[in-house]
């Protein structure tokens, strides 16, 4: 996934000391989950900065599709796994976005969408 292909860069509301990005959860979570599933199932190489998240990705790869299920429609027993999947996707996406700007300071604004609430 070309991370920058999906971003909508907006002017920050006030002067910022960092690059500002705004994303909708519907842009982040499904695509990132699919990417992680592909990485794990196809044993794809990841850059060193993502190795931190690879162990968790392997542990919950079978549950990453839960990011597409709203919490109130999720089996009660699966809610903790759904939360882990959402958090992993957020961290993975954040790290990829950060890497795409050369690890410069950044402000990521994830807008609200009840379907992706933890």
């Amino acid at each position: 996934m070309d991370i920058l292909k999906y971003f909508k860069k907006k002017e920050a509301p006030t002067t910022q000391d960092r690059q500002y990005f705004e994303y909708a959860p519907a842009d982040i979570y499904p695509k990132t989950a699919r990417k992680i599933i592909d990485v794990v199932r196809n044993h794809r190489e990841v850059p060193n900065n993502l190795l931190l998240y690879l162990a968790e990705a392997r542990r919950i790869v079978d549950y990453l599709e839960l990011v597409n299920t709203p919490k109130n429609k999720c089996d009660e027993n699966a809610i903790p796994l759904r939360a882990r999947a959402l958090e992993l996707c957020r961290l993975w996406f954040t790290e990829e976005l950060h890497a795409s700007i050369g690890f410069a300071p950044m402000h990521l604004h994830i807008t609200s969408d009840e379907r992706y609430r933890l």
């Binding site: 957020r90 950060h98 300071p105 990521l108 604004h109 609200s112």
Partner: protein, 141 residues
Amino acid sequence: MLAGWFRAGTTPTAFYLFLATSATAPTADINTKSELTEIADTNGYTAGGISVARNSTDFDVLTEDDGNDRALVQLKDEVWTASGGNIPASGNGARYAILTDDNATAGSRDVLHYWDLTSDRVVSDTQTLTLQNCEIRINES
């Protein structure tokens, strides 16, 4: 935080990130650095830890998560390189990374946040310990 925002107190000019052993596990009830056991210094680790500036260089990723009513603050990667021997030079390895304020008296520094490194970490001579993307979660509700 209370002093800085609600009592017009002095906010720290910087923070410190130090490494602690498992002798005392940090909890919400821990107030100051003196209540924890810092790893032995030398060989690339300085007592008190690494200074962390209050700026976009050292806190390089801020996330505003509207859907979950929270903010997330990540520290830049912090690295210790063992030189002339292991880190720690003696005693137990590093189990926790602890963020404190910058009180001039190290033992009186307020403990602000901690991260569990999940096991006692010993860095062999010439090797590095990197803490990547340590994150602080601030909930709005």
